[in-house]
């Protein structure tokens, strides 16, 4: 498969080679015949070549191209990227520009950018694997003005793009229930659980079913029960990132698969309101619940790199009552 994104900055096109050949032909004809009409054409061809080089250089170098992810980016799934294009030239419209990205079906036409103009283009992109991308495999391509050269300028990434692993669907993990002896101290958050957190005065919006009738009668005003949130035990999902051979494709595939499964488990547990943490060698994400934790866990998984056994630190110790769930 032909790689769409070039790994060069400038290339002479086939048309450009033909142009040079025609210059030679016309030069020979002009010199041999002394026909000044041919000399006129030859001078125009040579001048066209020089002007083309200058305009082409200005056209591509004058445009700054930055890429930024809009929202979460998950590997192999469509994500939105914002491409910010700015023509930094004071004179000269940047034109005939195409935006290249591997995930696009082909070059994307960019309308001409006036001097000093800035424009945002949102493109849908697919990243093939999880990880952190600090350099964009994307850029601007142009054959302007007359197609003698193709010039490419790689886009910059304004902030690193973190590509989350694909969560692999799996069964609900088997987490043992919290027992009275060895549980972690409660955080006593308000919620809809069975345990009563405190008694307090009734305020508008309280559920009437929570009225504490006896106490209300005693106090001669409305008293309600405030309940604690229900919660599971804090669960640490663990992925061992030690690989004997980091160049072994099969081991790497297993490693990536474990990460995907771990992401799937984390999402299921978080959706059930559990406090979920993550551990790997040298990596620890404290257990929490909620949407913020979802991002932290997925980012940790996105950044997880395999390490050699010799460099591998031990797993961070668990606190009393925390449960560790090893994902393999």
């Amino acid at each position: 498969m032909t790689r769409l994104i070039p790994d060069w900055g400038i290339r002479v096109t086939n048309f450009g080679l033909g142009y040079i050949l025609m210059c030679l032909v016309v030069a020979i004809a002009a010199t041999n015949t002394g026909n000044n009409g041919l000399y006129l054409v030859l001078a125009a061809l040579l001048a066209g070549m020089a002007v083309s080089g200058v305009l082409s250089r200005r056209n591509v170098r004058g445009v700054r191209c930055e890429i930024e992810a809009l929202g979460e980016v998950v590997a192999t799934r469509p994500a939105l990227l914002r491409v910010r294009l700015a023509n930094e030239l004071a004179t000269g419209t940047a034109q005939a520009l195409f935006f290249l990205h591997d995930s696009l079906p082909g070059p994307l036409w960019i309308d001409p950018l006036k001097p000093g103009e800035s424009r945002d283009v949102v493109v849908q992109a697919v990243f093939p694997r999880r990880g952190v991308f600090r350099e964009a495999d994307a850029g601007l391509l142009s054959r302007f003005p007359i197609g003698l050269f193709r010039k490419y300028r790689r886009a910059a990434v304004s902030n690193e793009i973190v590509v989350f692993p694909v969560p692999e669907a799996s069964a609900i993990p088997d987490v043992p229930p919290e027992d009275a002896r060895g549980s972690r101290p409660h955080v006593h958050r308000r919620g809809g659980g069975a345990d009563i957190r405190t008694l307090r005065d009734f305020v508008s919006g309280d559920d009437p079913r929570d009225l504490h009738w006896k106490q209300s009668a005693r106090m001669r005003r409305w008293i309600v029960r405030e309940r604690e949130a229900e919660r599971d035990r804090a669960v640490f999902l663990v992925v061992d990132n030690v690989l004997e051979d980091r160049n072994d494709p099969a081991a790497l595939e297993r490693f990536e698969s474990a990460i995907s499964r771990c992401a799937g488990q984390a999402l299921i547990l978080l959706s059930r309101g559990a406090d979920v943490g993550f551990q790997s060698r040298g990596v620890k994400v404290a257990p929490r619940a909620g949407r913020g934790q979802r991002g932290r866990l997925l980012e940790a998984l996105a950044r997880l790199e395999p390490i050699a056994p010799a460099e591998a630190p031990p797993f961070p110790p668990l606190r009393h009552g925390d449960h560790r769930l090893m994902i393999t």
Binding site: T13, F15, G18, M22, V26, A27, A29, A30, T31, N32, T33, G34, N35, N36, G37, L38, Y39, L40, V41, L42, A43, A44, L46, A47, G48, A50, V51, V54, L55, R58, G62, E88, L89, A90, T91, G92, T93, Q95, A96, F98, G106, P107, W109, D111, P112, G116, L141, R143, F144, P145, I146, G147
Partner: protein, 669 residues
């Protein structure tokens, strides 16, 4: 290729393909029928594409048409014998249409472009008319537009959105590109090496009307009128300094002393006794002597016929560039040159304006009818001045100036005097000269030009056919031949009258025509040498002027040569701005600049300074590396921190101080 993409290619390639072969119509490089068929077919293709229904011929149809054409080509070549250029042109025309009607791949569009380019080559190389410059300009615009759009289409696999083709190229950038092309291509054209003489020359024919009236040994009364109707440029001159212009613009070219039945001829076998003073000297050196000179004329003359030079009265020296000038007894100078144009310089002195030489009309040649007429008009007068005045006055009344005099049988001069009483300057001058001769006054007919048009954008004066004139030289008092112009004022060309804008435009057009004929179509290796010498002289003069200017140091006078340098520098600056562009870079505050300089100094000493190294650390590292610079380094770092993090602007005094500190740090480190 999807139909939308084919449509786009046809829309892009159509306009240049339509224009490309047009000059072949005038140069007979292709048959008019062939060009008409080509244009018609192309219009069909173009209009169908515009309507969104591009034509696409199947391979079988294309093969059938191709075979038919080859059959026709064989017939044409074998039987009609149209010549190589026509055969090739017809083949190119056919190939263009065939390619455009059967686009299957983008590469075929490029092949069609190549064929169109070959048509352009054929058109340009076979055209010698100045209008081909317009064609070149139009094709340059179309070529840039077409190539830009083809470059865009090359990255589309499907039909592009409608806005794409109209968006590229923008008008401003096209103009800049074309200007750059002209600025680069112009000098390139003149610099490219010439190994052969020009293949084609300007289409000036010796049988043209001016050639029968100008610069020849023979001139007849009828042809002179038609020559005056021609607006062909005869010469272009500049006067330095521009003094005494109306007098200087009476340019003497040939002297005639023999008349017979309306035809004047020169006297080529003038005896030594007839020669008298030549009045002018030929100079062979690089420059004209400047002693006693009031003005210097530089003339570019289109040579017609025998190649006589147009010289002003009071000429003292003549220098001809590349040609063999011959000084004739009547003060005329004849040049034999293979070139279309001759360039020469003339020095004008302060002496009296008198015609050179001694030859005059033999009174015995005067027709009896003219003699009788002269006796009748000048009856009772004996003094030559009075006779001349009477004759001139006589022609001002009762005679009509016309460029189309009635023609009758017999001697035209007799017919003019006795019957028609209408004619142009040569009739008036001929009649006056013959009448003076019949009264025993030495007289002769002189042809040349009077007046000219001031160039629209320069001080150059263009003399064309309408400025051709004839007058009389007569020796009235024994001091030499003086000028007598008997033509009524309505028939004398204006000296340097103010010309209308339209006339100026026409003048510009004519100047372009002269330039094209002389400097483009007929440009050769000799011209290149001349051009390089002119450049060398210009820069030498400019350098001398600057030296003089710097030496005197007095304002108010801007030396002429320095103007060239200023203009060149200005153009270079403009070109630099145009090519490099002005990028919007924020101005770096002086404190930051100083801090960055300190970082560079430190990087040179310690190897590298990563971006993460904080300013305080920079100061500390520099202190460790060059202890003597500690105060300066800290001062710079403090100023930088105050400026960047504290928001305090650096004043001018502090900026100067920082600059000094950086200098010291550099020295110490």
């Amino acid at each position: 290729m999807p139909p939308e993409l084919r449509r786009a290619y046809l829309l892009v390639l159509g306009p240049p393909a339509l224009i490309a072969p047009l000059p072949l119509f005038w140069t007979h490089g292709a048959s008019p029928l062939g060009i008409a068929l080509y244009e018609g077919a192309l219009m069909v293709l173009f209009l169908r594409a515009r309507a969104g229904r591009p034509v696409r011929l199947s391979d079988s149809v294309l093969n059938a048409i191709g075979l038919s054409y080859f059959f026709w080509l064989a017939v044409e070549t074998a039987m009609l014998r149209p010549g190589l250029l026509r055969s090739v042109s017809h083949l190119l025309l056919f190939t263009t249409i065939a390619k455009l009607a059967s686009l299957k791949r983008p590469s075929e569009a490029r092949t069609a472009l190549l064929v169109v380019f070959l048509l352009v080559l054929g058109s340009v190389s076979s055209s010698t008319h100045v209008a081909s410059l317009v064609y070149c300009a139009v094709m340059a615009v179309l070529a840039f537009r077409t190539l830009s759009r083809l470059a865009v289409l090359a990255d589309f696999e499907e039909g592009p959105p409608a806005r794409v083709l109209t968006a590229v190229p923008t008008a401003g950038l096209s103009a800049a590109a074309l200007l750059g092309g002209v600025l680069l291509g112009g000098p390139l054209f003149f610099l490219l090496p010439r190994l052969h003489g020009p293949y084609a020359l300007s289409p000036i024919r010796t049988e043209d009307a001016p050639s029968t009236a100008v610069t020849t040994d023979r001139v007849d009364l009828d042809s002179f009128g038609s020559a005056k109707l021609s607006d062909r440029v005869v010469l272009r001159l500049s006067v330095d300094p521009p003094v005494a212009l109306p007098q200087l613009l009476r340019l003497r070219e040939a002297v005639f002393t023999r008349y017979r039945n309306g035809v004047w001829t020169r006297n080529p076998l003038a005896s030594r006794r007839d020669r008298g003073s030549f009045g002018v000297q030929l100079v062979t050196g690089d420059s004209l002597p400047s002693e006693g000179r009031t003005a210097r004329l530089s003339v570019d003359e289109n040579l017609f016929g025998s190649g006589f030079l147009f010289l002003p009265y009071r000429s003292t020296h003549v220098r001809v560039e590349r040609g063999r000038p011959v000084l004739l007894p009547d003060g005329a100078v004849q040049v034999s040159s293979s070139r279309v144009t001759v360039r020469y310089e003339v020095s004008v002195g302060k002496r009296e304006a008198r015609g050179a030489g001694e030859s005059a009309i033999d009174p015995a040649q005067v027709p009896p009818a003219v003699r009788d007429y002269a006796s009748k008009v000048t009856a009772g007068l004996t003094r030559p001045e009075e006779i001349a005045d009477r004759i001139v006055q006589h022609f001002q009344k009762g005679f009509v100036y016309t460029l189309d005099p009635p023609r009758g049988s017999g001697d035209p001069l007799v017919g003019f005097l006795l019957r028609s009483k209408a004619g142009h300057c040569e009739y008036f001058a001929s009649a006056t000269a013959m009448m003076l001769a019949s009264r025993g006054i030495r007289a002769r007919l002189v042809t040349g030009s009077y007046g000219g048009e001031v160039g629209a954008f320069s001080d150059a004066i263009v003399v064309r056919g309408t400025n051709l004139h004839a007058w009389v030289e007569a020796d009235l008092d024994g001091t030499g031949f003086r000028v007598i112009d008997p033509t009524p004022p309505s028939g004398i060309p204006p000296a340097t009258a103010r010309v209308s804008w339209w006339k100026r435009l026409v003048t510009v057009g004519r100047s372009i025509e002269v330039f094209y004929d002389r400097r483009i179509l007929g440009f050769d290796a000799g011209d290149q040498i001349q051009l390089s010498e002119a450049f060398r002289d210009s820069f030498g003069n400019a350098a001398r002027s600057i030296k003089f200017w710097k030496g005197t140091g007095e304002g108010g006078v801007f030396p002429g040569g320095a103007k060239a340098v200023v203009v060149v520098l200005g153009l270079a600056a403009l070109a630099l701005i145009a090519f490099k562009g002005i990028t919007r870079r924020p101005a770096i505050p002086p404190a930051t600049r100083a801090y960055l300089a300190v970082r560079r100094v430190l990087a040179r000493r310690v190897g590298s300074v990563p971006p993460a190294v904080a300013p305080a650390e920079v100061a500390r590292l520099l202190e460790a590396s060059a202890p003597a610079s500690v105060d300066d380094a800290r001062a710079v770092v403090n100023a930088y921190c105050e400026s960047v993090f504290g928001g305090r602007a650096t004043d001018a005094a502090t900026a100067r101080e920082l600059k000094e500190r950086v200098k010291r740090i550099r020295k110490l480190a």
